[in-house]
Symmetry: C2
Subunit: 320 residues, 2 copies
Amino acid sequence: MKKPKLADVAKLAEVSPTTVSRVLNDRGYIGEKTRKKVYAAMEELNYYPNEIARSLFINKTFIVGVIFPTTSNPFYGQLIYHLENVCESLGYKVLLCNSGGREDKERAYLEMLQRHQVDGIIAGAHNRGIDLYKKSRMPIVSFDRILADHIPVVSSDNYRGGELATQHLIDRGCKKIIHINGPRELETPANLRRDAYEDTMKKNNLPYRTYEISDTYLEDLFNENLDLEAVFASDDMIASKVINEAKNRGIRVPEDLKVIGYDGAEAVRMLLPDLSTIQQPIEEIARVSVEILMEQINQSDNFEVKNVTLPVELIKGKTT
Amino acid sequence: MKKPKLADVAKLAEVSPTTVSRVLNDRGYIGEKTRKKVYAAMEELNYYPNEIARSLFINKTFIVGVIFPTTSNPFYGQLIYHLENVCESLGYKVLLCNSGGREDKERAYLEMLQRHQVDGIIAGAHNRGIDLYKKSRMPIVSFDRILADHIPVVSSDNYRGGELATQHLIDRGCKKIIHINGPRELETPANLRRDAYEDTMKKNNLPYRTYEISDTYLEDLFNENLDLEAVFASDDMIASKVINEAKNRGIRVPEDLKVIGYDGAEAVRMLLPDLSTIQQPIEEIARVSVEILMEQINQSDNFEVKNVTLPVELIKGKTT
DNA sequence: ATTAATATGTCAACCGGTTGACATATTACG
DNA sequence: CGTAATATGTCAACCGGTTGACATATTAAT
């Protein structure tokens, strides 16, 4: 029993295929009784118009590809949730791509999305070496990653966030403050968090030191800094690890060690309500990203690249 | 400058469209030099075959629709991550649908997925009242929800999980143990957690009481049970809330109150490594779900419905 | 009664590949 | 050298809707 097609509906409703199409798309003149007959036939046959056929003809899929490391991470999970929500409200669907931080996967996804004729892409995963981003004439918006000159970047105010976090720790009386961040090589605005940390420390005549994520950064951090007073972690997961390691070593938080994280995803705030953090406006990021993508999609000719930076907020918890 | 099509490639490579198609699909005889010429032309034109056109013809999209409440929740986030991974490894793409627990959205998504000719659906959101699931002849696999007779259900061993959790608390010497769960109306295997809790308490001649999620369940729980010794929460987020509320009330965990959760998502384990919980085999759930879906897709004729229950594991943390 | 608006039908081209039938040319092998 | 295998081309139908052109019929307004 094959899927019913438009012609089947037409036959059952005793009208022409054109009329059915007219009903479906609400164009031209349609009489009330005809419309009803058609709908009744669709109902009876359990008919769903084939979007694929439609997409082929109108040369538009109303699909947006979304590439991020993983939905497993609460921050990305929430961001993707909102992205999907905003897209849905505009009649767009989301093709989900978890790159898992692997460049080869990201490249494969990018190619897949092109083949699949998505109308646009929102990416916030890798960056380097993916020349496809540069070659592509596809509407793209990037989150927190510089992909190419012609690709707009949406991010929250990473510099300000770094500043807020660092200054907050200093205000709390800390002098020996360490920062933990991802590898510098990634050309991401998130490096600004690090710059802000270092600048702020310099400005206050304090020594600074940034640890990059590695297999042993946690032990190194504690072993090499016995006089440690505070840690500014570049995300909440890391902050949580620091706190746990401290606990294991009998170091009290916040009495002996103050810790502040970054991101402030809903789930994390629920699980660790005490954690001080810099909250990114996740929903806003999603909204703006889709907005800019839509501008590109709808007027690909006179679209001018604009980067957007959204404000962050310091959440003073009990870990600082 | 429009997208290049197969015919453009053919022209540039000086071969016939049929030959290009042959190269693309590796059918029939193709000479080495021709193949190279064609690939070179594709490269030069930056050509990507139009999957939409292909899908239309072969009547298959290699897309799987995935409907869950939200990627924002670490458990679903991780589950979806793995689902996407498994699908990708089989050449399938994932259309993401966040129902947000709203039945109307779920219904709309279901319809959208049909229109979009997805090859199958994996759903773990609502259940009642969505007759579309029943009417649909589409390959579907459900996670933890009974949708219809002909739809296979994958879940972890909820009864065993409830048993493990409850017994663990009893073993720890608790007598006054409360359970918190979602509304009973949902016909989900997760109700088995509740049944197991109640059965186990009965078996041990202990009083039992289940709180259903509401606006005030947390306060009620503490106010109505001053002699409370332990809580078995039906997921880790709730467990975390209980722990925090306890802290706010000056109740020590685990000394005064023991708490065990449910799910054991990676992110949660990282953020709350001390939390005792029942760990669901998330990756395994994803693998099996996709596996069963593929069986349906590939042999929709003689497919027999089978429900699968996967083992859970008790994680003894420091909150019990 | 005439004209205009409304309602529906027929037909064919098109979106961009895929596929089978069939023809033809080149190469390889016994 | 002849036959078979290999290589490529032409052509047309098809997947399931969409759309414009055009024809015709019914209804409404003047």
